[in-house]
Symmetry: C2
Subunit: 472 residues, 2 copies
């Protein structure tokens, strides 16, 4: 006889009524030794198990406590309760293992409020909470939708290397990799090391991705990337997952179109497929009175973004707007803005929340504050960069049209003091059939944060890695 | 006007006949300055561009050489040639950039036979070859099908950490990670390091995956894993991608069923979606007379595996078969087999190719040659392990039912000298609602090797990492 997941039971309940089924799960609560709420992780909803009369011995029922795993055989019936549509009248119950009451004390499995910090300290158990399981189901949907979107649009998924030899990209501080014991480094150093050279954890798959796009046309990477910055904030992780599409023959406008289409498609998929998890998060979002975007809750904001065109404005225009605007309550920004500066959060928030009221794509940034590989505009001062700014989280996507002209790229590398001998293969793509191409990076965790309304990035990834934290 | 990919043009050609279109791509060959074969990576097929009469200046046409990127505007017509169904009569051609003849010399872009070694040395250009682009399109299909299969079956995709603190799993030698310069390690060593402890690159996401499965029910990981073994073989990479499903409430039989269903589903997807790439690989496979499985070429073998049930045999039965079999031509194996030994390639090949003639799942291995976390059988000598053996490549999947009993797992860890203080969180899953669960690992590169018929694993991943090689 088939074992049903609780999601399957709830989805298919009309056709299963009065049928006998097996179901597995963990006990979320027990009431009057008569009603058990069972959850198996397939959905945020619990299934109510009903214990009738004297079918089970009292000693047996005592063992059914919060957190233990059960296998239940029983009949599906319409529930008389208001909370659930169906329930199961238990005929047989198997207890997989018991839990000592002493064990449970101090764990987050105890049915009461626990802080986010405490949940993180017991990250191996927080999968069992409603909150974190809802976040992870939405994270799954987003990851799957990313693959599905690119597959549907004829992109090829490329696995770019995690172990790299160059720290040339300048995206951030890198971790080193070695096969040595750190206590006992041989005299010849890296020459004796595993790869015969210094190796690092990648900060981006872009450069390798470009080489693939210049042959396969449209590709994307989706893998872990790393930063060794000592940033202890709610926005930074040392290890996070990034999606990086790269498209031959795309110019910056095509790149912006793709970014907007992708984001709307992903939010739409979550709205269509994660209703119950979103409802739960929305409810806790409102309850916790987190910062709101123009009074909208998280579900409303997803709909809003899906339905409105993003504003597109050049960096120079954005600076004009900021300079001539009536700013915050006191009439000025904390950080005065001028052309050539990176935008601060307060500037981004002003543009997104106050001025445009929709997500904003800012393009054509000053060359000096952007990476060497971005295409120089005819003004020689700006590059074909673009950032997509969202309410609440700021930059969600950063990208550019790439410099495809060999001589100009070489000069830019020299200006950035990047050794052309290290990136010879990257330069080669500009020697053998170069063409315009573009791409961008989308951080998965930022996207999950935005979609779930979580304020700390450590709460949207199973086991966060941050300075001094690599537990589990 | 929409820019079409060549794949789109060929797929939709009936509806596009006599229409004017834009198309981009790289020149694969030029004949008599009249016919250009253009490829954009979207498909292995080239699109023929026809230059009519004196439409373009001779000086302009001279610049159209192999490898350069073009944008063509023209009319789609039925081709009179036999090689292609449609072609484009060029009206406008834009040359994105030229290639110096000197540049091309010595590169694998030159239209002649190049060795696999040479292709690897120019890994940044081999995406442009038919062979490697075909392999990567199939790799993409397999990766997408893996996500699609698990999504369809209600598994959740979990990102387990790449940076780990424990080398306890025993799956292989690990790389260390540090934020230090190796030339200048501080006195306090790892305590002063980024994470405040020793950190390594993961060899498997399984243990973390188990913690998620014991809450979400059915999960899978799909990410890079690492081995610091000094293995310079055609079967080993230092960095490779692994898929690891983990299912609560699954026993070993359910695990075997899932492995077989998954593999058949993936091969079926490739057969249905990668016809042209497979045909090309099949043709080069036969041409190169690579080792064959019972005379089958790679397409036939995919069909064969899809249509036949896998044999399932216990390790002890497999040993009996090997001991009583008439072995190789000389009547014996190079490595004599006895109960308790790991099977060698020759034994696996005998069982798969000669004895069963289908893929074989071997289960219930001796406890001493398997990992600490596998469930001990009642005989106390064997564990609920399983390996799926395929023709040509041997083991493609390794998995087990996990030991869910706290006391027995703790004893096994002690026997393997694994510090329980390091894996306290793993042990915790057996204290708080433990239940039977199972999972397995599938190496993506092995699967791509099998599907494409490639004999060296370095030829199925964009930038292979092996001892002394981390180029690009």
């Amino acid at each position: 006889m088939k074992v049903f997941s609780i999601k399957e039971l709830l989805d298919e309940s009309p056709s299963l009524m009065t049928k006998e089924v097996f179901v597995n799960g963990w006990v979320k609560s027990v009431r009057s030794r008569r009603f058990i709420d069972l959850n198996d992780g397939s959905t945020i909803k619990d299934l109510q198990i009903v214990i009738e009369g004297s079918k089970f011995a009292s000693d047996f029922l005592k063992k059914i406590t919060i957190g233990i795993a059960l296998r239940v055989f029983g009949t599906i019936v319409i529930s008389l309760g208001k909370k659930q549509s169906i329930e199961i009248i238990a005929k047989e119950i198997k207890i997989y293992s018991e839990i000592s009451h002493n064990y449970l004390r101090g764990t987050i499995l105890q049915p009461k409020h626990h802080s986010f910090e405490k949940l993180r300290e017991q990250a191996h158990l927080r999968f069992r909470t409603r909150l974190f399981s809802a976040i992870l189901r939405i994270r799954h949907q987003l990851a799957f939708s990313i693959h599905h979107f690119f597959h549907k649009h004829n992109f090829y998924y490329i696995h770019t290397p995690i172990i790299t030899t160059s720290d040339a990209e300048g995206a951030g501080k890198m971790f080193r990799i070695t096969s040595f014991n750190l206590e006992n480094i041989p005299n010849h150093g890296y020459l004796d090391d595993f790869f015969g050279c210094s190796t690092y954890l990648t900060v981006s798959g872009q450069l390798a991705g470009e080489t693939a796009a210049m042959a396969l046309g449209k590709i994307y990477t989706f893998g872990p990337t790393f930063r060794a910055e000592n940033s202890n904030t709610s926005r930074h992780l040392s290890e996070f997952w990034m999606v990086e599409p790269e498209m031959a023959f795309y110019e910056l406008e095509d790149n912006m179109d793709l970014a907007e289409t992708l984001l709307k498609s992903l939010l739409n998929d979550v709205l269509n497929n994660c209703v119950e998890d979103l409802d739960f998060l929305n409810w806790s979002f409102i309850k916790n009175q987190k910062p709101k975007f123009e009074g909208q809750n998280i579900v409303e904001i997803l709909y809003f973004i899906k339905q409105h065109s993003f504003a597109r404005v050049s960096y120079s225009e954005a600076i004009e707007i900021l300079l001539s605007s009536n700013l915050n309550k006191k009439g000025k920004f904390k950080y005065p803005i001028r052309w050539g500066m990176d935008l601060q959060s307060e500037h981004e928030r002003f543009l997104v929340d106050k001025y445009f009221g929709v997500p904003v794509i800012i393009f054509d940034y000053p060359a000096d504050i952007k990476a060497f590989y971005m295409r120089i505009n005819d003004d020689s001062k700006t590059v074909r960069a673009m950032d997509v700014l969202f309410p609440r989280i700021g930059e969600i996507i950063g990208g550019s049209q790439r410099e495809e002209r060999y001589d100009i790229l070489l000069n830019r590398m020299k200006a950035f003091q990047i050794d052309e001998k290290v990136l010879w293969w990257y330069l080669d793509t500009r020697r053998f059939g170069s063409a315009p191409h573009s791409g961008f990076g989308l951080g998965l965790e930022r996207l999950v944060q935005f979609t779930t309304g979580m304020s700390n990035i450590r709460d949207v990834i199973p086991y966060p890695r941050t300075p001094k934290h690599a537990d589990f």
